[in-house]
C-alpha cells in the first residue's frame, strides 16, 4: 500500500517546500481545507502513488501566498477555498474575485466565529 505522509509546516515555508516538491517530480493532487477553530490547509502531492501532504494552520486574517505560480492549475482550488472558507489566499494567477461559485452566503464553510461577524 502506498504511503501517506503529512508534514506540518509554517505558512512562510509553503512556497519553498512546494517548489522543492515540484522539483522532485511531485504532482499536486488536491488542496483541502478544514475549518474548526482555525483554517487547516492541506496541500497534497502525489508521486508514484505516494501521497505527501503539507499542512498549515492559519486564521482567516493571515495572508497565504498562492502556489499558482508553481502549479498553474492550483488556481481553481485556491479560488474555491477562498470563497467557501474565507482563507486569505493572495496573488492567485487567475483570480475570480469570489465569483467562481454562486453562493448566497459569503464563505459558507468558514470558521464559525467569523461567520457571525460577517452576518452583522
Amino acid at each position: 500500500m502506498a504511503q501517506q505522509i503529512i508534514n506540518t509546516i509554517l505558512p512562510d515555508a509553503l512556497l519553498a517546500q512546494t517548489q522543492q516538491l515540484k522539483n522532485d517530480g511531485y504532482r499536486l493532487a488536491a488542496i483541502s481545507c478544514t475549518s474548526k477553530d482555525d483554517l487547516e490547509l492541506t496541500y497534497s502531492f502525489d508521486k508514484d502513488y505516494d501521497l505527501m501532504s503539507l499542512r498549515l494552520h492559519v486564521t482567516p486574517d493571515d495572508a497565504v501566498e498562492s502556489i499558482s505560480g508553481i502549479y498553474a492549475f492550483a488556481f481553481l482550488y485556491e479560488n474555491e477555498i477562498r470563497e467557501l472558507f474565507g482563507a486569505k489566499i493572495i496573488n492567485i494567477s487567475l483570480d475570480f474575485n469570489d465569483n467562481l461559485y454562486k453562493t448566497t452566503v459569503k464563505t459558507p464553510f468558514g470558521v464559525k466565529k467569523k461567520e457571525a461577524n460577517d452576518g452583522e
Binding site: A29, A30, T34, Y49, L76, N99, L100, F109
Partner: protein
C-alpha cells in the same frame, strides 16, 4: 485581426446537460480563451457531514453524483474504514470491485452516447444507451437500484449476489462484449466520426502533467496514471494494465474509454471467477478518530476522499476532490485554438461531471 467576441456557453446548452458556464473569447471562429464559472448546483454536501452521523453520511456520499454514485459511496466507506482500522471481508471487496467496474461500464456507455449526440450522430447515441440498459438491469437485480445502489456500507456491502446472479452477469457480459465490438468500431473507424475527433484538442503528455489532468484525459496523453494500481478493494488480486494512448487528441480519449470498456468486462469476469465465499459485512463498533486520504479511480479519473474524524459520531470534515475538478484546467488549455463548433465535443471528451465537481 478579426473581431473579438465573447460568447457565453452554458449553463443551459442543447448538447451539454452539465451546468457549467464558459465565457468563450472568440477571434472570428477560433476560441482564444475560455473562462469557466461554476456553482450552479453547489449543494454543500461536504458540509452536511456535520449534521448526519458517519453511518448516515454513506447515503449522502453516494448521492453526490448519479453516475459514479457507487464509487462515491465506496470512497467514503473506504476512508472511514481506514480510519477505524476495519478490515472488510474478502467477498465484500470482490463485490465492490465488481460493482465499481460495472459502474465504469455504464458511465463509459453513457459518455459514448453523449459524445455521439454532441457530434450529431443520434442513432449512435440511442444504440450506446440501449446497450447501457443491460448494465442498469444487472444493477437493479443485484442491488435493488438502477442509479443509486445504497449497497456500500462501512464494513462491507449490504447485499450479496448469489451464484445465479453472478452467472447472469457473465452471460450479459458475453452479449455486451459482442454488441460493444459492433458499436465501438463506429467510433473508432467511421470516417465521419473520426473527422470530428482526430487531431482535435491536442494535449501533450507534458501538458497533461503540468495541468494536473487525471483519468482517461491523462492516459490518452500517454501518462500512465491509474489509481486502481494502488490495489484497493480487490484490484490487487486482479491482473490488468492501465490503458494508455499517446496521441492526446479527442480520438485518443475516445479510444482510451473504449478500450477501458473491454478492460472492465475482463475485470468483471476475473472478479466473478475469483469471488470467494463468506460474509459480506463486518459489524463496526465505536466512532472513528483520525484522518485519511483515500484515492480511487472513478470512470472520470482519480477521486480523493479526505475524511477527518474527532472520535464522535459526527465527522469534522469530508472533502471530495473529484476528477472533473482536476480536469478543468486541462480543458481550458485544450479549448484554446479550437473552433466554436468543436467546443461541445471537446468539453465532452473530458467527460465532465459538474455535480461531482461542486458537491
Amino acid at each position: 485581426m478579426g473581431n473579438r467576441t465573447i460568447i457565453p456557453f452554458g449553463p443551459q446548452h442543447p448538447v451539454l446537460p452539465e451546468p457549467i458556464h464558459l465565457d468563450l473569447v472568440l477571434d472570428d471562429e477560433t476560441v482564444v480563451e475560455a473562462i469557466p464559472s461554476i456553482g450552479y448546483i453547489h449543494r454543500g454536501l461536504e458540509k452536511l457531514v456535520e449534521k448526519k452521523d458517519y453511518l448516515q453520511y454513506t447515503y449522502v456520499a453516494e448521492r453526490i453524483c448519479g453516475i459514479c454514485s457507487f464509487m462515491h459511496g465506496m470512497g467514503y466507506c473506504m476512508s472511514v474504514e481506514s480510519i477505524m482500522g476495519v478490515e472488510i471481508p474478502e467477498r465484500a471487496a470482490f463485490l465492490r470491485t465488481m460493482w465499481a467496474e460495472l459502474s465504469r461500464l455504464q458511465s463509459h456507455f453513457l459518455w459514448m452516447g453523449l459524445l455521439a449526440d454532441a457530434f450529431g450522430f443520434e442513432s449512435l447515441f440511442m444504440h450506446a444507451w440501449r446497450v447501457r440498459e443491460r448494465i442498469l438491469d444487472i444493477f437493479e437485480q443485484t442491488t435493488g437500484g438502477r442509479v443509486i445502489f445504497s449497497v456500500c456500507d462501512i464494513g462491507g456491502v449490504r447485499k450479496d449476489a448469489n451464484a445465479q446472479a453472478l452467472d447472469k452477469i457473465l452471460s450479459v457480459m458475453d452479449t455486451l462484449e459482442a454488441e460493444t465490438k459492433e458499436l465501438t468500431q463506429v467510433f473508432l473507424n467511421d470516417s465521419s466520426v473520426k473527422h470530428r475527433t482526430c487531431g482535435l484538442g491536442m494535449l501533450s503528455g507534458q501538458d497533461a502533467i503540468a495541468l494536473g489532468a487525471v483519468g482517461p484525459m491523462a492516459r490518452a496523453s500517454g501518462v500512465d496514471l491509474d489509481m486502481r494500481k494502488l490495489g484497493y478493494a480487490a484490484y490487487g488480486k486482479l491482473s490488468f494494465e492501465p490503458v494508455v494512448e499517446t496521441a492526446g487528441d479527442c480520438y485518443a480519449r475516445t479510444a482510451v474509454r473504449i478500450r477501458e470498456i473491454f478492460q472492465s468486462i475482463d475485470l468483471i469476469r476475473q472478479c466473478v471467477r475469483l469471488m470467494p465465499e463468506g460474509d459480506v459485512i463486518v459489524k463496526v463498533k465505536g466512532n472513528p478518530d483520525g484522518e485519511y486520504f483515500t484515492r480511487l479511480e472513478q470512470p472520470r479519473g482519480e477521486v480523493i476522499y479526505y475524511s477527518k474524524a474527532n472520535g464522535t459520531k459526527f465527522l469534522d470534515r469530508v472533502r471530495v476532490r473529484t476528477p472533473t475538478f482536476a480536469n478543468i484546467p486541462a480543458l481550458l488549455e485544450t479549448l484554446k485554438g479550437c473552433t466554436l463548433a468543436d467546443v461541445p465535443v471537446l468539453i465532452l471528451t473530458i467527460d465532465p461531471c459538474i455535480s461531482c465537481t461542486e458537491r
